[in-house]
Amino acid sequence: MKSGDSATIDVPDSTASGGATAKGKGVTVVAAPRAGGWNKGVAIFDFILRLCAIVTALAAAAAMGTSDETLPFFTQFFQFQASYDDLPTFQFFVIAMAIVGGYLVLSLPFSIVCIIRTHAAGLRMLLLVLDTMALTLTTAAGAAAAAIVYLAHNGNPNTNWLAICQQFGDFCQKVSGAVVASMVTAVVFVVLVIVSAMALRRT
């Protein structure tokens, strides 16, 4: 440990850096344990976020799928039964959220492997790509359903589309709740993608 060498990097005391003894390898040995610990924390956070996303995605699919409502009275002009498969957009919503929920469940083992192997860059890259696609699918399903729900709540005077929520209150509530759950899933996916990108930076 020569003190008069101006070309070497100033390695702090070995007690702080965790025992780096060779001058030439000083920087990389100091960086790896800290990055490994950070990566492990990030991977655990990723796993927990995935669990939350599974709950919200499946809740959205279930809420939309069980949104049948039959009105007890008879009206002349309006249909007295409403279900999610009356609207193709809602069918797409249920299928898309079910696919996203299934993908999340299948990606849990990969996430666990990322916790164990903190420097697995290829696996993280794969999860990032698949998460981006799942984000796109979730956002697409949620936004399309939100457009229809908005129309169901407010109607549109310019196109003579009437608001059906005035008759079917429970149906509307369930469907709106499902859309909110899918938007929460989309936000969780955004955080997952950003967290994966940050973890890739340090592998």
Binding site: M125, V129, L135, A143, N160, A197, L200, R201
Partner: protein, 186 residues
């Protein structure tokens, strides 16, 4: 230190190859950004300039159709405009990445914003797709009738503007992937 010299030579060759691929990735990122800008701007303009007035007068049906008759289309125009403005503003950062291929923090910033813009663009595009589908087919159960039967060119315009938007979505996914590749190969 012969072993140190040989190792230094190998490390230099590997890092030169990595540097070359990073530069290629940055150039591809720049090109795709320009393409996505053109796509989203085209979509916004195509939807924003819709205005069809029917030449005849009918009793029950409105005889003029514009994009702001439907709030979803207004959201679509706004979302596409915001995304195309963001892409224009992120071009200098992309050029910076071509010049300095080892930049990491700015790439992370770009990934964060790209992800947020992807979500916004997808939301706008798919909400409009739902309304365009309804305009084409209508829905008998909800007594919503299809407006495309009256307004042909309006319908064609709004359907066509979706193509540019969904193309932008695909390009954004590729952009995020490219940034991730560049990050993991620094």
């Amino acid at each position: 230190m012969k072993a140190g010299g040989v190792e230094a030579g190998e490390v230099a060759k590997a890092s030169a190859a990595r540097y070359g691929i990073n530069k290629g990735v940055a150039v591809l990122d720049f090109i795709l950004r320009i393409l996505a800008f053109v796509c989203t701007l085209g979509s916004a303009i195509a939807m924003g300039t819709t205005n069809e007035t029917l030449p005849f007068f009918t009793q029950f049906i409105r005889f003029r159709a514009r994009y702001d008759d439907l709030p979803t289309f207004t959201f679509f125009v706004v979302a596409n405009s915001v995304v195309s403005a963001y892409l224009l503003l992120s071009l200098p950062l992309s050029v910076f990445h071509i010049m300095r291929s080892a930049a990491q923090n700015s790439r992370i910033v770009l990934v964060i914003f790209d992800t947020a813009m992807l979500a916004l663009l997808t939301a706008g595009a798919s909400a409009s797709a739902a309304i365009v589908y309804l305009a084409h087919k209508g829905n008998t159960k909800a007594n919503w009738f299809s407006i495309c039967q009256q307004f042909n060119s309006f319908c064609e315009r709004i359907s066509g503007s979706l193509i540019g938007s969904f193309g932008g979505v695909v390009l954004f996914v590729v952009l995020i992937l490219l940034s991730a590749i560049a990050l993991s190969r620094r």
